[in-house]
């Protein structure tokens, strides 16, 4: 941890536009009808980098990460994920989605399938993994998120925290290169937030490339290589966590941090 942080601090952010970037977003704009949601987004993410995106609600942070796997379409600029450009080409979209896992605020587990079936569905149908093998992999990840004993239950029988851990395991079963987290703890009871964050921290320790939209500033401080602050559809400020929290540059960042850290 300490090593990566020092590496970041010695100017990694400035030189982050190298060719080893796993995600590259250049001059990206998005509109919902007339509403300009994302304005001139430029962002490069290196492999194994962990990024936390925060900002007030409606600032476009969820929309930004949803553009990375094309759940939302962008209108201008370009997005390259794993070297593939996101266009209307369905083939490219499918290729990118295989490598990008996503965890949602409301888990979005498939309620008609068991936990195990939720986890094996992607590998079996998208990666053509044989069923036995897919189940073995799924059990391995369910063990990693510490709920192998729930494998044969249905999502509706689990607590929120357990469901979110299943959702993480489900994404990991596809062995993605990048994981997107869209406010993964916002729909959880306070006592369940920790178990999900612990799972995410463990995942970060394995070297996964992660983009997390979250308000959990403790998580940002422990895990993130870089914190991005968004407001009004723009990236206002980005920095390593220590500098971001101790020495915010922008007025809007200061205001946001004072509100979120006030209590």
């Amino acid at each position: 941890m300490a090593e990566t942080q020092t590496a970041e601090q010695t100017g990694a952010i400035e030189s982050s536009k190298g060719s080893d970037d796993i995600i590259q977003i250049n001059g990206m704009h998005k509109w919902y009808g007339d509403f300009h949601v994302l304005k001139d987004i430029n962002l490069s993410v290196k492999s194994k980098e962990r990024i936390v995106i925060c900002g007030p609600s409606g600032s476009g942070k969820s929309t930004l990460i949803r553009c990375i796997n094309r759940l939302e379409e962008h209108q201008r600029g370009d997005i390259l994920v794993n070297g593939i450009e996101l266009t209307n080409d369905l083939k490219n979209i499918d290729l990118i989605r295989r490598e990008v896992g996503m965890v949602f605020q409301h888990f979005n587990l498939f309620p008609h399938l068991t936990v195990l079936e939720n986890c094996t569905l992607g590998p079996i149908w998208v990666r053509q993994t044989p069923k036995k093998e897919a189940e073995a992999i799924a059990m391995q990840y369910l063990e990693r998120v510490k709920i192998p004993e729930q494998a044969l239950k249905f999502p509706g029988q689990l607590s929120g925290g357990q469901q979110q851990r299943v959702a993480i395991a489900r994404s990991l079963c596809m062995s993605p290169k990048i994981m997107l987290f869209d406010e993964p703890t916002s729909a959880l009871d306070p006592e369940m937030i920790k178990e999900v964050l612990d799972t995410m921290i463990e995942l970060a320790d394995t070297g996964m490339t992660m983009l997390c939209v979250t308000h959990e500033m403790g998580f940002a401080k422990t895990v993130a290589d870089r914190v991005i602050f968004m407001d009004g559809g723009e990236i206002i400020e980005e920095n390593v966590p220590n500098s971001f929290f101790d020495n915010p540059q922008h007025e809007r960042t200061k205001l946001f941090l004072s509100q979120i850290l006030a209590h």
């Binding site: 989605r97 409301h106 979005n108 309620p111 249905f154 509706g156 596809m174």
Partner: protein, 374 residues
């Protein structure tokens, strides 16, 4: 109270409050009767009124249908000589006609065989713990062809039977089962088409659904019987029964599409997004994620449509085909049995009630089976 509030913090040993059995006022038959039958004044009045009406109706009905009924005889006079109630002898002597219509007597085993095979074909669809389900489903897919060959014949040494000899209960079942079997997949396609992002596909589906729903089935059947021959090239003989089957199926599909659309709309956007983000293709996410959930939600509506379709099969009478109701009605014209319309209608009603009741029971079983606690 005062003493507890002023004393020091109280602690409890876990397990100090074991579970006690519930008092009889919250469970048991007495509780059920009290809350469900005599819960309030209105409730009590309604219960008493219902009991009174049942007391008035049921004994008289049982008397007419069973106790005071005549089961044998060769004419209405025979019946009246025996008893004052229902004359089931009439139904008994006509039973073959009610079931097979005018299907040649020597060939009726083919109808029976088709009926038995129907259950074989249905079993793997209705229950998923049937042995060798995969192979059984192949038979199910082939069944319509097998049934067609068996019933119509003309090949494999089977004598040809024209479809205008089909009638009675057999006709209802053929039309009902065909309509049910094909309207579900067509309805699913129409419902998905209506949600499509492709404008042409969407408009075609919407236009079809709205047309079907805006036109009475009788009209469509007349069109099938009379007008279709103007559209098809001269010389092509398009069997009337097939035309009816197509019309009934399309009619039910239109309704089915809307029922399924209701189910599709109940699926949260997050389910589509989760399926998309996993990299599933459109048809995969529909088949694996969306439709299983949407159809489950739509089961009551789907079965409702099935039942309505099944009962609508009696409308074939308007184009001159005699189904069970038609045969019954025309039997009334027999001078030996004149005036026995009640028996005929009760018989037909019982037949339809049993079929429809089984469908609705099965749908409840399915709903329970598919319930996964969400």
């Amino acid at each position: 109270m005062a003493s507890t509030s002023t004393s020091a913090v109280q602690t409890y040993v876990p397990g100090e409050h074991p579970d006690w059995p519930a008092p009889s006022s919250v469970k048991g038959p007495v509780h059920w009767i009290k809350t469900n039958l005599f819960g309030s004044v209105t409730n009590t009045l309604l219960t008493l009124l219902t009991i009174y009406l049942l007391y008035k109706i049921i004994p008289a009905m049982v008397d007419w249908m069973f106790i005071d009924a005549a089961y044998t005889g060769t004419s209405r006079k025979d019946c009246e000589a025996q008893a004052g109630g229902a004359c089931w002898a009439f139904i008994g002597t006509r039973l073959q006609l009610f079931i097979y219509g005018f299907y040649p007597e020597a060939e009726r085993w083919r109808v029976n065989l088709t009926a038995v095979l129907l259950f074989v074909a249905l079993a793997p669809v209705l229950y998923d713990n049937v042995p060798h389900r995969g192979k059984a489903l192949i038979f199910t897919v082939l069944y319509p062809v097998i049934a067609g060959v068996l019933l119509v014949g003309g090949i494999f040494g089977l004598e040809y039977v024209a479809t205008d000899q089909f009638g009675g209960l057999m006709l209802n079942v053929i039309i009902g089962v065909t309509g049910i079997a094909f309207s579900l997949p067509i309805g699913i396609c129409l419902a998905l088409g209506r949600q499509s992002h492709l404008p042409v596909l969407r408009i075609v589906c919407v236009a079809f659904i709205e047309f079907i729903r805006g036109v009475p089935l009788i009209t469509l059947l007349f069109v099938a019987a009379v007008m279709l021959s103007y559209f098809v090239p001269p010389g092509t003989n398009f069997d009337l029964l097939v035309r009816m089957l197509i019309m009934v199926t399309l009619f039910a599909s239109g309704y089915m599409a809307e029922v399924i659309r209701g189910g599709l709309q109940a699926i949260p956007k997050g389910q589509y997004e989760a399926a998309d983000s996993m990299g599933l293709k459109y048809w995969q996410s529909m088949r694996l994620i969306v439709l299983p959930q949407a159809l489950k939600i739509a089961i009551p509506g789907i079965v409702n449509t099935f039942i309505a379709l099944y009962k609508d099969t009696t409308l074939v009478i308007v184009i001159g085909r005699l189904d069970i109701l038609g045969i019954g009605r025309s039997s009334l014209a027999d001078s030996k049995w004149q005036g026995l319309s009640t028996e005929v209608y009760v018989f037909v009603a019982i037949f339809f009630f049993i079929s429809c009741f089984l469908m609705s029971r099965y749908s409840l079983y399915l709903e329970k089976k598919l319930h996964t606690g969400h």
